[in-house]
Amino acid sequence: MSAVALTARRWLPPFVGFGSLVLALAVVEGLIRLGAINRFIVPLPSEVIASFARVIVEEDILHRFLLTAWECLASGILLTVFGVAIGALFHRLRLLRLACETWVAAMASAPLVLAYPLFLVLFGRSALTIIMLAFLSGLPPVILKTIEGLSATRRVLINVGRSFNLTPAQQFYKILLPSALPTIFVGIRLGLIFALINVVGVEFLINFGGLGQLINELAERYDLPAMYAAICFVIFVSVVFFVTTERAERWLRSAG
């Protein structure tokens, strides 16, 4: 098949996907203008697009974005440090691991964010509540993946370390940890994604913070186009974050 045909084949599906989206928006626009859809429930897509600029300038979106980012960063650092440490501890103390690993797995499936009213009482309506919730939600995957990665270290590598008479600490830092790093990073990535979801979600729910709070505020003000624009912006940020961490994971995997 010719090179041109191959290029076309590669780009046709994304083009069709994007094209369908544009087409759907155009149909919605048409239906609203015709009055088939109530414009007080669904704003005109064109208005939403137009309000992007307004939202960015008026609503101080940079500041809000940084606030959300800072909350994500804080909870991200916490869940990485504690998650890897606890995971390493579980790996080292086999009895502890056997006792608690299923509990951690259960915690991973527990809807921790539902306890946000409790956290509100404990930490007040502040960034601390948000960070704590995001930290605890993202913790289980890091712990589980750390355990998994350390346990999966190839037997032969451990034996190499023993043949060089490495101390347990050296064994951990020079052999186990590097070998486990790709899997650990998968866990950190999962934890970060959970953290982001919870940060924005809780910001919305408790009406405090950056981007999540913006959506809540715009909803209460009934500024529909701006609200839809803000939602799109949050989706955009979330997608960029997701893709970035995916690329980083792939890069780490190939380099390691």
Binding site: P13, G17, L95, L114, P117, I197, V239
Partner: protein, 264 residues
Amino acid sequence: MAEIGRLTRAVAPRPWMMPVMLLRVVIVLAVLLIWQFLSASGWFYRGVVPSLPTIAGALAKLLSGGDLYWNLWVTIDEIAIGLAIGGLSGLVAGLVIGGNKFIAAAFEPYLYYLGPTPKIIFFPVMIMWFGVGAGSKIAMGAVSCFFPIALNVAAGMRQIDQVLIRVGTSFRANPWQMATKIYLPAMRPAVINGLRLGLGVALIGTLLAETKLSNRGIGAMVMQAYAAFDMPRMYAILIVLFALAIGVNALVARFGGLDAIERK
């Protein structure tokens, strides 16, 4: 003779004394003790960390009262309908995407990248479209669970061992037979996994929506306790909620896992 008797007696294990079980009991007891200590210490603002007997009392009161079960029924109802709507549409979407490479290349990225976003931010939109009643909560649940189910079904379809499809073709199975006797059984583990994840996020989505805007359901109960600063009651409700959530998750995993036959 006496030795043989001694030997057989020593071999029988006692599960409640096994080290793992012991450690778990110790950890749980330690946590409870620390809690009680913190509660009695007065370091925290009054009532934020209630004593264990207070919580136990509130739990008993909650379980014996009528309004827990009524609200629970409301929530379960909302989750079930949301899961049905999101699950069915997710199943169809997953089948379409999994079955056709072009459609998958065109549309699956949207599902894949939209999946890990905080769906609760769509709630104001749901309220506008479906009202302030159960409709918006059901919609939240449906939107939440659509993505993991669709993605898992699509992945499940793609990872069907191709040779099994060739077997069906070589025996001239018609499309209906191919679908029911080969595709669906082969996809079963993936579908169950998708349902498990979907149930988890539908639960979260519906409950969060209830906490934000509702006067019925478990989420609303939590917010009412919060508003009244009835901390023991809030703890009690949360305990019941978490126990149910974890329990249901374990049930679905076990129910699905029992029948899933893995190849060696």
